[in-house]
C-alpha cells in the first residue's frame, strides 16, 4: 500500500491550512471549527491547536455526526443501520463562520449531508470546507476551500486516513490498482 502522506507531511499540511485560514479570514473572532465524525473531529482539534499556537486565539470546536442525514440510509432494504454517534456543538453557529473539517473529500455526499445538518443548528455567516485529502470524483457541486493534498485516484482505489487519536499512527495510504 503506497504511503502518500506521513506524520511529518500531515503536520505541515495542517499548519499550512491554519495559516491560510488566518490569511483568508482576518482574525478569528467569528470563526468556529466543526469536525465531521469520525476523523474530521481530531483534525479539527489539531487545527484549533495550531491556530492557538500561531495567533493565541481559542477557536470553539465541535463534532458533527451526519449519519441521520445520509442520502443512502433507507436505500438498503435489509441490513444493519449505520452507527449513530453524538453530535456535540456546544456553541451557537449563528453569525459565525464555520470551518467544516473532514479527512477525505470524494463524492461530496458527506459534505452535502453535513451542510443540511449544520443548517438545522442555525444560520452561520458562512461555511468553509477544510479537507486533508481531495481525491476527486465529485458527484455533487461541492469544492473545498482548504486542501491538505490533492490526490488523483481511480474509482477502484480507496484512500485510508489514519490518525494518532484513533488509529495510533498518522498516515495516508492509497489502496488498490490505479
Amino acid at each position: 500500500m503506497p504511503l502518500v502522506m506521513d506524520a511529518d507531511r500531515m503536520s505541515r499540511a495542517l499548519t499550512r491550512i491554519s495559516h491560510e485560514i488566518l490569511e483568508r479570514n482576518r482574525g478569528l473572532d467569528e470563526i468556529a471549527l466543526v469536525g465531521i465524525r469520525t476523523r474530521g473531529v481530531p483534525l479539527a482539534r489539531r487545527i484549533s491547536r495550531s491556530l492557538h499556537e500561531i495567533n493565541g486565539d481559542d477557536v470553539p470546536t465541535g463534532a458533527l455526526d451526519i449519519t441521520l442525514y445520509r442520502d443512502d440510509l433507507m436505500r438498503h432494504p435489509v441490513g444493519p443501520q449505520p452507527l449513530v454517534r453524538r453530535t456535540e456543538i456546544p456553541f451557537s453557529i449563528d453569525d459565525r463562520k464555520i470551518l467544516l473539517v473532514d479527512d477525505v473529500l470524494y463524492t461530496g455526499r458527506t459534505i452535502r449531508a453535513a451542510l443540511d445538518a449544520l443548517i438545522d443548528f442555525g444560520r452561520p455567516l458562512a461555511i468553509q470546507l477544510v479537507v486533508l485529502v481531495d481525491r476527486g470524483h465529485r458527484e455533487l457541486p461541492i469544492k473545498a476551500d482548504y486542501v491538505g493534498k490533492n490526490l488523483p485516484t481511480s474509482l477502484k482505489q480507496s484512500v485510508q486516513v489514519r490518525l494518532q487519536e484513533i488509529d495510533g499512527t498518522d498516515e495516508v495510504l492509497i489502496e488498490g490498482e490505479a
Partner: protein, 325 residues
Amino acid sequence: MTTSAETPTAAVQLKSRHLLGIDGLDADEITLILDTAEAMKEIGGRAIKKVPTLRGRTVVNLFFEPSTRTRTSFEIAEKRLSADTLSVATATSSVTKGESLLDTVRNLEAMSPDMIVMRHASSGAPHLLARTCRSTIINAGDGMHEHPTQALLDAFTIREHKQRLAGLKVAIVGDLMHSRVLRSNIALLNIMGAHVWACAPATLMPSHIDEFGVRATTSVDEAVDGADVVMMLRIQHERMHGHYIPSLREYFTMFGLTPERMRRAAPDAIVMHPGPMNRGVEIDSAVADGPFSVILEQVSNGVAVRMAVLYLLSGRDSVDVLDVH
C-alpha cells in the same frame, strides 16, 4: 461515504425486525439501542428538533388501551425522525363495531405502513401480528406481558446516573402481578447483570416469581436497603378483578415509598416510576418531587430511546413475513 472503506456500520445489529419484548434481545443489542439513544437525545436539545432520517416512512400508532405518555412519546419520536405518523384511537374506530384485531390490522396494512406501534390489553397480541404482517411491529405494551421500550428507557436513565447497570441493586416495588413493566425490566436488568429485588404484598406477587431470577420479599425496608435504584410501580385498579389489598391507605402504610423509607437506600440512589403515579398510594409526594426522583427524566429519555428503536428497526424491513426473530 468519504472513502469506500469507511461506512461505519455497527458491529452489532438487531436480529429481529420487530421489537416484541426484551425477551429475545441480548446484551449487545440492548447496549446498541442505549448508545444510539444517547446520540438521539442530543437532537431533542436543538432549536430544530428534527432530522430527515425516516422521511417517506409511515408509522401507525395503534393503541387499544388508553395511554398518554407512551403514545405521545412515540409520536414525538416519529416526528423528530420525519416519519409520517398517524394515531388510531380505537374508541372511535371500527373496533367498536366488532372488527377483529387481525382484520383491523390487515386493513391498515393494505395502506402500506412501514411500522405499527401497538398497545393491546391481551398479552401476545403483537406477537400474533408479527407472524402475519409485512410491517415492523413495535410492542408498546401487551397486557401483563411486556413493555420493552419502557424497560429500555428505564435502563437508559439508570445508565445516565450510574454509568452502568451491572452490579446495581434495583428494588422494584408495587403491584407486580399486573405489571408488564416489571416483566420487561426484570428481563433487561438480568441480561445486563443487575441484582433485582421484587417487593409486593403477597396477594400482588406473581406466582413462581423465583423463576424470574430475582430476590422476592414482602418487606419494603429489606428491598430498599442499600438499593441504588428504587422503582415504584402503580397499583393497577383497572386490571384488578378481586380484592388484593385491604385499602389504599393500608397499602400506603405498608408499601408506600416515604422519605423515611428512602433513608435506607444508597446515599446516591435514584427513584423511578413509569407513570401514571398514584400519589399517596404507592409513593409519597415528598419522594416523587424530591431530590432522588428522576421520574420526569424518564419521560424525556423515552423519546430518545424510541427514536433509537425506530431508527434501528427501520433498516430491517422487507424480509420474509414468517421471520419472527
